[in-house]
Symmetry: C2
């Protein structure tokens, strides 16, 4: 499905991108914290997930067209991690309101400058193993978007994952170059194991990677129809964006915005929604186990993401070290995460439950450690 | 077997003690290091093993009668840990030569002042759970020593340990108060599992805890007979002890001394050797597993020696923490030792093999970590 000889730079001169950089990733604790969310971490490294997202898009989205939307607590880190991004392209939300307002604001700001702009939205904390194929897919999706669709890029599932939502493919649409295109039949919540297996077996379902491509104007049209109040607020904010009163307007209107994801608020109810199936090696790196799976090339291999590991009779163990030696002896299937103030030793099969520990710490008032 | 109403202070006015403080305890790495041997560590805490040894003896041995023999690298730490010990009672060996020369020098120095002195020798890195019973046993052994025996205190085995040497009890001698006394039939090297079980089943064997009580003059007599060269050298050094040339003499003679343990060099060949069986809860705390065994009161209990442990679904795990939180999830039977520059995660069943890691680091030139 790789499109050959694409002059990416040329084809995408007008492509825009919004990168929502939020969420804390509590399942990657203690590396990720409220104060140091997953997207700022070098997972799998050496660049941070945010930097890797930026790098991945850079060949098809000019810097001036890339908007990173983040919270005030992380603005400085984002600025430092992405020195090539123009100052004005880092948008600081006064508070988290979900992807709907964040991406909607991005769309409003983009449409103000270029009403015909095609834009994509890509989370700052997802991993892609084949960036070139990723870019070809985005460009194919952009072509579909030009035909008046809200396009999502769905990931062809490789196993019965229960941690992702799914997209059910409907009627086939004309392919975009080498890429198949379907209407979206339905968005599905995270399934149980049995359902996930049935989805996988049917061949009709894709993982929902919350990866979208559309004309900014079309998203705003759908938003006007489906979330009229939000739409109005975002236009008000966008109108004030280049004015001295921007901050006042933002502070006045943002707190009143209701939380909504772009999936729930728009995509599940919109009229013309298409999906481009993709296989560029995607994972949301939701927990340490999935990270270990991603990084190990052979069975029982140990994975060292950072630091130094001295392994004696050790298998299938992931080490996210710090500046001290991590020595292991006679152990397997462990996740060992060593940070300045917390050490985690966890069975890989229990990686999903790391958030329980974070919750216990929060309940106990130990917020600095969460 | 507890002797009631002993006026310990009175009975032991003349008792002397030598505490050889050497050895590194590589199986307790990374808490123990060449630069920070086991006897200086708070195992199980809060006092160091050396301090606990001192505390244990203090009620029956006056400070002026206690000699700690250690290497130059640890003299400062010993001095700081035992502020109550007079300056002159910390003896700094120019180099390690085994327990034979160390204890022999102690005996020579004691006999110089008091030819009739009864002295005991007690390693600085052994653990005793019942110090009161320990003291009663030592006083009983001291009475036997007054009758012209080299006395060892043997530990009644509680399981078939293969990591200790054994003592075979021979003919019964008159009891000392409430304590049985036997002639020693034979000293046995560390046995294999089957042999250890046979020793245990026979009821005739005791663990060799390298714990001795004797008249200093009798030890020196046996040393003159069995190790005449060492005997002569030690007398030469002892004669110079209060003279200006002490250091010169020590530097001249000590390097030429051959390594020998008091067990191999004296006890196994001496004439009148007796043993007092004891059950005061003794272990040499040779590795992390034995420490965990010692500290856990019920099955599957987690043990925290230092630091803070947040355990989620965790069993039979020992944590020797540092100043960071140690969180564990879905693990069991682990030893987790967190130090400033090294973190060890080890299966408890492999605790004996920790020295392999130390050896690998030494082989790799990583001496600061060993």
């Amino acid at each position: 499905m790789v499109r050959e000889n694409v002059n990416e730079q040329q084809r995408s001169a007008q492509l825009h991108a919004v990168i929502p950089a939020g969420g804390s990733g509590t399942r990657l604790w203690p590396a990720s914290r409220s104060s140091r969310p997953k997207f700022l971490l070098p997972l799998p490294g050496p660049r941070s997930m945010l930097q890797a997202t930026f790098d991945r898009l850079e060949p098809i989205v000019p810097h001036r067209n890339m908007l990173v939307i983040t919270g005030g607590a992380h603005a400085v880190a984002v600025a430092r991690q992405l020195p090539a991004l123009p100052d004005g392209n880092i948008i600081v939300e006064p508070g988290p309101r979900g992807t709907g307002p964040a991406i909607g604001l991005g769309a409003a700001l983009i449409a103000r400058k270029d009403p015909d702009a095609v834009m994509g939205s890509f989370a700052a904390d997802h991993y892609v193993s084949n960036p070139e194929l990723f870019r070809s897919t985005v460009l194919a999706a952009a072509e579909v978007a030009c035909h008046g669709y809200l396009v999502t890029i769905g990931i062809t599932p490789t196993y019965a994952e229960t941690g992702y939502g799914y997209i059910r493919c409907g009627q086939a649409l004309p392919p975009s170059g080498d890429f198949d295109v379907f209407r979206v039949d339905q968005f599905k919540e995270k399934p149980d194991k049995e359902t996930a297996q049935a989805y996988l077996d049917s061949g009709k379902y894709l993982w929902n990677a919350s990866m979208f491509v559309w004309k900014a104007s079309l998203l705003l049209d759908e938003m006007r129809r489906l979330l009229p109040e939000l739409h109005q607020t975002l236009l008000t904010i966008a109108d004030a964006w280049d004015q001295p009163e921007r901050d006042d307007v933002l502070r006045e209107y943002w707190p009143g915005i209701a939380d909504v994801t772009i999936d729930n608020g728009i995509m599940e109810h919109a009229e013309r929604v298409a999906v481009v199936p993709a296989s560029f090696g995607w994972t949301d790196l939701g927990d340490w186990h999935s990270l270990a799976e991603l990084m190990s090339n052979e069975q029982h291999e140990n994975v060292v993401l950072q630091g130094t590991h001295l392994a004696e009779d050790t298998r299938s163990t992931l080490v996210f070290g710090n500046n001290r030696l991590v020595a292991t002896l006679g152990v397997d299937n462990l996740v060992i995460v060593d940070t300045e103030d917390v050490l985690l030793v966890c069975n890989r099969s229990r990686a999903q439950d790391v958030r329980k520990i974070v919750q216990r710490l929060k309940d106990g008032g130990d917020h600095p450690l969460t």
